[in-house]
């Protein structure tokens, strides 16, 4: 009995030591941006949701988290450090603009690339089962995942919510 209690406490201790608790203030303060010459334009929009508002889940519709103009973030100039991926950039940008983000990091997801589940509390599958976040680089949908794309100077990076992913591929 004593042994198991000690074991449980040890487990909790090791778990808590390798994980970090932070208050909201501390999290917002933690800033890792370094000034550099490379800049990129980032925008996050959900215009497709406003077009297809009838498919949106009732719980989201009533909460009023969808911005009226369809943009969570419009043409934000972000300074990019060297070897920065689109994934780390979007994490940085959403944090400095106080937008919620929920994603699977490359280690967590089973495809070895990051997956964005939600931005600004708008989750995947909120607009039907084929909806979710995708990202465009200079107007084209990227061929690699956002954690494998290295941002270049003057790139325009758009994260867009798509209500039906099949429609997108039919157009192209």
């Amino acid at each position: 009995m004593k042994k198991t209690v000690i074991l449980v406490f040890l487990m909790i201790f090791t778990l808590s030591s390798c994980t970090g608790f932070e208050s909201v203030k501390e999290y917002n303060k933690r800033n890792t941006t370094k000034k550099s010459n490379i800049t990129a334009t980032v925008s996050i929009d959900c215009k497709d949701v406003i077009k297809n508002i009838e498919t949106l889940d009732n719980s989201v519709k009533k909460s009023g988290i969808i911005p009226d103009n369809g943009y969570f973030l419009k043409d934000y100039k972000a300074s990019v450090s060297k070897n920065e991926t689109a994934y780390s950039l979007i994490l940085k940008v959403t944090k400095s603009n106080n937008i919620q983000i929920d994603c699977l990091s490359p280690e967590e997801s089973s495809y070895n690339t990051a997956y964005v589940k939600s931005i600004g509390n708008l989750y995947e599958k909120d607009c039907g089962k084929n909806s979710g976040w995708i990202f465009f680089v200079n107007g084209k949908s990227s061929q690699v995942g956002c954690s494998d794309y290295y941002v270049k100077n003057n790139d325009v990076i758009e994260f867009t919510y798509i209500c039906d992913i099949n429609k997108l591929y039919k157009k192209e």
């Binding site: 608790f21 932070e22 909201v24 999290y27 719980s59 009533k62 909460s63 988290i65 929920d102």
Partner: protein
């Protein structure tokens, strides 16, 4: 207690299915709290309240409350960050109400179990699904019987001196081995004895415990009307990404009335009993 057992078991079954269905599928905090309150009252009146199950349900509550925010990061108000992922107030509250809902379901199932005994269960289903009813009853009986037999065998093995403190696992295996052999034998015996009595035979007549009376019909009508009203006037409540506001709705009153009926019936019976005593 006795007042409830007078009611036809089929009607009681319909009543419990209605309450459990509304409780599980509406997922509204007011309805969950109401059903928890009236279910606890019912259990208390049926004298089936146990401290052990209260402790168990509190542990369950704590476990779900902690584990839900770790898994789900939905919600707009972060309390703090854990591994740079937000732990949100919404998911905490969702976990709380989910746990409360589970506890309410357990409480109501307990009440169902004590109101509809195994006799009336067999009586209800022996005509429609004879084999399923028997198997279900056998499997429900299995666990308490197993426990009882396990303790008996363990004690007798201890008395014989075969339960060795040093070889605990080996002795335990010996006990469990014998208990399983006993259980297999027992189930075959039960099946054979039921067969010998002519269960599931075409000419086998079944005795009627209860007859369908006018009061049963009234109870059934009340149940159906109240549950239909509750479903029609239901209010959707969303936990994610932001709590929707709770407005007053008629469905809360109808559900409260629906869930308090058995407790009222028991109370009426007990009051009647007391008045009769004082008159003498």
């Amino acid at each position: 207690m006795r007042e409830l057992k007078k009611i036809h078991p089929a009607v009681l079954g319909v009543y419990f299915v209605c309450v459990l269905g509304i409780l599980m599928f509406l997922n509204n905090p007011v309805i969950i709290l109401t059903s928890l309150f009236s279910g606890a009252l019912l259990i208390f009146l049926l004298k089936r309240f146990e401290l052990k199950s209260l402790v168990f349900s509190l542990v369950l509550l704590l476990l779900i409350c902690i584990s839900n925010p770790i898994v789900s990061h939905k919600g707009i108000t972060p309390l703090f960050y854990f591994n740079s992922k937000p732990i949100t107030f919404e998911s905490l509250i969702y976990g709380l109400f989910f746990a409360l809902m589970l506890i309410a379901v357990i409480v109501w199932c307990k009440a169902l179990n004590s109101v509809i005994g195994s006799d009336s269960f067999i009586y209800l289903f022996s005509k429609v699904l004879p084999k399923t009813a028997l198997i279900l009853k056998l499997s429900l009986r299995f666990i308490p019987l197993f426990k009882e037999q396990y303790h008996k065998t363990k004690n007798s093995v201890k008395v014989l001196g075969l339960y060795n403190g040093n070889k605990k696992i080996k002795s335990e295996i010996r006990v469990i081995n014998s208990v399983i052999a006993f259980m297999v034998e027992n189930s075959i015996e039960t099946a054979r004895s039921m067969n010998a009595r002519g269960y599931n035979n075409k000419n086998h007549s079944r005795y009627q415990i209860k007859k369908f009376e006018l009061s049963d019909f009234c109870f059934l009508a009340l149940t159906v009307v109240l549950s239909v009203f509750t479903v029609v006037f239901k209010k959707e409540f969303y936990f994610y990404p932001k709590f929707s506001t709770i407005n007053f709705s008629a469905c809360y009153i109808t559900f409260f009335a629906l869930s308090i009926i058995p407790a009222l019936i028991i109370l009426r019976g007990e009051l009647k009993w007391k008045f009769l005593i004082s008159k003498i």
